[in-house]
Symmetry: C2
Subunit: 125 residues, 2 copies
């Protein structure tokens, strides 16, 4: 059982662990954040807004997020074809759940920097 | 700027994004959860409690978590040497921040299952 969950059924726990394994991923989290902030976006716009993501990883993550029901993918029959991505209610909910992690990161940047410097100093001895 | 953050400084945002990239990782999240639930544990106990993690990934993730100040690593000078891991206050805080994601996963298991089934049916057409 997770330290913050109430369900004791081990089958449910295994499913939750699997799901966490899928969504607890930095690219999913960064894409969710960009779509929550900027609304509907095209593929190339998401790529620009998420620094460091490769085209392959962007394609793969968007497809997985669509499969999980976190985003919609709308294809407009124009030339050249236009494809737009937007969060579903489910995706918005996960974005909101991740807020706690963003706020934690923002609040603890300095403490982590201090910890890393101390660790590296010990490792160098 | 993140959809749930207040800081507009782009340098701070870049640091927060880097940090999210480090901690938004399923192994970090699963190890945090096990230590939050069970308290101080030895290496092999963590490996048993986190299904599917390889020894290499466990070593690597624990070392990174120690460097980030999320866990302490205590070595007892006995034969054979005993090494124990425990959460710091910083790690406890991150574990608490991840609670929202665990609860979201638990609450939305069925909706995601329905979304996946629908996606796979469309893909098979």
């Amino acid at each position: 059982m997770s330290s913050c969950q109430t369900v004791a059924d081990p089958r449910v726990q295994a499913l939750v662990n699997d799901l966490i394994g899928r969504v607890a991923d930095k690219w999913t989290m960064l894409i969710l954040d960009v779509l929550a902030e900027q609304g509907t976006l095209r593929f190339t716009q998401i790529g620009t807004a998420v620094p460091g993501i490769s085209q392959k990883m962007l394609t793969q993550t968007l497809r997985q997020m669509e499969r999980d029901g976190l985003i919609t993918r709308t294809i407009f029959p124009v030339v050249p074809p236009r494809v737009e991505y937007a969060l579903t209610d489910l995706g918005l909910g996960l974005g909101a759940a991740f807020c706690g992690v963003w706020l934690w990161a923002e609040a603890n940047l300095q403490r982590i920097d201090v910890a890393r410097t101390a660790f590296d100093a010990r490792a160098a001895v």
